[in-house]
């Protein structure tokens, strides 16, 4: 299980490849990657603020909870902070399990919790100013299924 909170870019291909090569016995690997959308060209950058210390603890807690709920061989979370350009990868989650149901459920669970319970705040920088991204009710609702 690895959790990384970093300002630097990560190489999605390298990470997914290394992750899936190091899960002996696993039959299913799921990855999720969040990219900065360009919002039809309106977005010039995204700034991600976080709460150093709490971020790592909160994510480690989510991973531990996922391990309790599903039969996982391994899990990985990488989340960036700082200034990102459209198209850049913001974060990724990877899960490995014997069977696809566990891998998918754990990845979705981690994503739902990262969205609303990990202390990150996104600010969209556009031509017409900067704006904090508002939390969506649908993201809060997504937690209720777990």
């Amino acid at each position: 299980m690895r959790v990384a909170v970093q300002s630097g870019a990560f190489d999605l291909g390298v990470e997914v490849s290394a992750f899936s090569a190091a899960v002996p016995g696993a039959g299913a690997v799921v990855s999720f990657t969040g990219l900065v959308r360009d919002e039809g060209g309106r977005l010039s950058a995204m700034e991600i603020e976080h709460y150093p210390g709490m971020t790592e603890t909160a994510i480690a807690g989510m991973v531990a909870e996922a391990v309790r709920r599903w039969s996982l061989v391994d899990a990985l979370v990488i989340h960036r902070h700082g200034r990102l350009a459209p198209g850049e990868a913001i974060m990724m989650v990877a899960t490995a399990a014997s069977h696809r149901g566990d891998a998918f459920a754990a990845a979705e669970f981690l994503m739902d919790y990262l969205k609303s319970r990990a202390p990150f705040w996104k600010k969209e920088i556009g031509a017409d100013g900067a704006e904090w991204v508002a939390a969506k009710d649908s993201d809060e609702d997504a937690l209720k299924r777990w």
């Binding site: 709460y51 603890t57 990262l114 609303s116 319970r117 202390p119 705040w121 904090w132």
Partner: protein, 82 residues
């Protein structure tokens, strides 16, 4: 003494990321009352508690939680990670 941290637009509204305070409050809500009373920028930041979240010693908590033994309080809007 207690460390109080602000993130995202709470930080921007108050104009600083963290400060060290003396407080007589026994709950988070009490601390918020003290802050509101300080200056207009605090009153603006804490105008609507339903738009805010609080963490005590880096764990999500609630506004009615006691402050006893807490060293670090953080106020911020709902998180938007992922």
């Amino acid at each position: 003494m207690i460390d109080v941290l602000y993130f995202a637009w709470v930080r921007e509204r108050i104009g600083l990321p963290r400060e060290r305070l003396e407080t007589r409050a026994t709950t988070v809500a009490g601390l918020v009352e003290e802050l509101r009373a300080r200056e207009e920028r605090y009153a603006a930041a804490f105008a609507d508690l339903s738009a805010l979240r609080v963490a005590l010693d880096q764990e999500l908590s609630s506004f009615d939680a006691p402050l006893a033994g807490v060293r670090e309080v953080a106020f911020f809007p709902p998180m938007t990670g992922g």
